[in-house]
């Protein structure tokens, strides 16, 4: 982030900010699923929300565009507090787009372009605008060739992309992904992450929040990491600082990313500071070369 910010930037920062304050929620009025969640998303950041199954990740995400109404607490999207009337909800749903874990729940129309057009059509846009948005959304994640395909014939990875395109057609500036790589083979999940990365590069206003239980993914992909445990956010910050905190990781029933674990070992063995923590296997090899095999 640049040190000097002009006015325009500050304004845009406010527009793309998400802030959650002391959020409490329960499905059955007996057991709290969210217990006072506080969190913040900054413009242009790629944030990973990490937690084991049942930590409350999905429940938290569903609050971000008003699909669930909190029992207590406030959600501030782009400078306005979320209210729960139809008009305000339509507005927030244009800003915050959620991609659900299972694309089969999300894709409803038989043909790809029909499904991508669902959001814009229901927003009451004209036919020309709808077509333009569908074209742009498909283009943004590079699936123009799927436009006329039947949805039920697509592969899981393709379905996931179509689901994302359907959300992008609403032109949100905050993209929320629930377990983006679940159910995908390694190649498709890497492909998907690259797609999301290039999406962020094309549009530096876009903030992305991804919930996942995959610490490796969170560590390699995210700019910032938040760890969630039993309805609370226990730690957030730089991926290295958060996922390298053994106490937090253990008590949250997670595992430390392997690259980081090896690096920690090197740190203990090496006589001097081994340098910046590595993000990838390649960077790790470099650290090993510099410190152990000298």
């Amino acid at each position: 982030m640049r040190a000097h910010k002009d006015e325009e930037d500050i304004k845009r920062d406010a527009e793309n900010m998400v802030e959650v304050q002391d959020l409490w929620f329960s499905y059955d009025k007996k057991k709290w699923v969210l217990k006072g969640v506080d969190m913040k998303l900054k413009r242009g950041d790629k944030t990973a929300l990490v937690g084991s199954t049942g930590a409350g990740k999905t429940t938290l995400l569903l609050h971000l565009n008003g699909l669930l109404t909190p029992d207590k607490g406030k959600i501030n999207i782009s400078g306005t507090f979320l209210s729960y009337n139809k008009k305000a909800l339509t507005e927030v749903r244009k800003r915050v787009g959620i991609v659900f874990q299972n694309p089969n729940d999300q894709i409803v129309a038989p043909i790809v372009f029909q499904d991508v057009a669902l959001g814009p059509v229901n927003l009451g846009l004209t036919e020309g605008e709808v077509k333009e948005r569908v074209k742009r959304a498909l283009n943004e994640i590079n699936i123009e060739d799927l436009r006329d395909r039947k949805a039920h014939e697509l592969s899981e990875g393709e379905k996931k992309k179509v689901a994302i395109a359907g959300v992008l057609a609403m032109e949100p500036n905050i993209l929320v992904l629930d377990e983006p790589t679940s159910g995908l083979d390694p190649e498709s999940s890497e492909d998907l992450l690259n797609t999301i990365d290039s999406l962020c590069e094309q549009n530096d206003n876009m903030s992305v929040l991804a919930a996942t239980h995959d610490v490796e993914l969170a560590y390699e992909w995210a700019d910032r990491v938040m760890v969630m445990r039993e309805g609370e956010i226990v730690k957030s910050g730089e991926p290295y600082a958060v996922l390298g905190d053994e106490a937090v990781i253990k008590s949250s029933r997670l595992a430390m990313p392997r690259v980081l674990k090896i690096y920690k070992g090197i740190e203990m063995m090496a006589s001097e500071n081994p340098g910046m923590p590595p993000k990838s296997v390649e960077e790790l090899l470099k650290v090993m070369r510099d410190n152990l095999w000298r």
């Binding site: 244009k94 659900f100 729940d105 129309a109 372009f113 057009a117 669902l118 229901n122 036919e127 077509k131």
Partner: protein, 264 residues
């Protein structure tokens, strides 16, 4: 699920899919009403033949079409059999079973034949609509005709869920079969376990679906397949298209024949 793939498959690749949905609904229902009104076997045959030809021409396999046509027979055959004994006074065939004297009547048999024809004709009208028009398009037309939002939304969710439920049921049943769940005596218990497991899982599915729809501001509007036409000039909506004129002409002829009394 086979049902899902055949029906959706037909409508998506159908030659008549681009004719306006409202026109097709109007055509099939109006023809249907004429079929129910008329007493003329000739008219019924004419409708049955025309409708079946159009539907099969538009892209349905004949074998599959004929198979589907036999579905209502399980209802029709016993009902018509009953009528044959009940109606009229001129016996054609008499016999007795366990001390009861039964007589099949001429009038009853004639009525049975008419009803059979009429049902088959009605179903051909229905098949024309189903096999050329995706359900999503029909629901969208319902929305245009000012059906309440909740009706359209619920119908849409039900339509999607039917296939989810059937898929769930098939996979749960496989799991149960593997554990010998359907052995004699266990059946009702297995069945209700199957149904409730399916129900709970579908409930979760339905919740996810509702949220996903809500997240995209769904208000009952389904994007039209016409959006897919790339060429702008083809996309102009004609209020009166050649196909509509043909459909109206056909129905008008039928109406004249039906009201004009027995033509043949």
């Amino acid at each position: 699920m086979s049902l899902h793939h055949t029906l959706e498959g037909y409508t998506v690749s159908n030659k008549l899919v681009n004719i306006r949905t409202g026109d097709k609904i109007f055509f099939s229902i109006f023809t249907l009403i004429i079929a129910v009104y008329t007493q003329s076997l000739f008219l019924l045959l004419l409708i049955l033949f025309t409708m079946s030809c159009i539907t099969i021409w538009s892209g349905v396999r004949i074998k599959h079409y004929l198979e589907l046509m036999t579905i209502p027979l399980t209802f029709l055959l016993p009902s018509i059999l009953v009528l044959a004994f009940l109606r009229g006074s001129e016996p054609v065939l008499t016999f007795s079973i366990i001390g009861m004297h039964l007589a099949m009547m001429r009038e009853g048999l004639e009525l049975g034949a008419l009803l059979m024809m009429r049902s088959m004709t009605g179903i051909s009208c229905l098949f024309f609509l189903i096999m050329t028009t995706p359900i999503a398009e029909m629901l969208d037309t319902m929305k245009k005709f000012r059906m309440p939002e909740i009706v359209v939304e619920l119908s849409f969710m039900v339509y999607k869920l039917i296939f989810v439920l059937i898929e769930e049921m098939e996979s749960t049943k496989k799991a149960q079969d593997a554990r010998l769940g359907y052995l004699r005596g266990n059946r009702i218990k297995s069945l209700s376990l199957l149904l409730s497991a399916m129900l709970v899982r579908s409930l979760e599915k339905a919740q996810n679906m509702e949220r996903a729809l809500e997240a995209r501001c769904y208000a009952g509007k389904m994007p039209s397949l016409k959006l897919g036409i790339k060429n702008e000039s083809e996309n102009k909506v004609h209020i009166i298209s050649p196909s509509l004129i043909l459909m109206i002409l056909f129905d008008a002829c039928l109406l004249v024949m039906a009201v004009g009394g027995s033509v043949i």
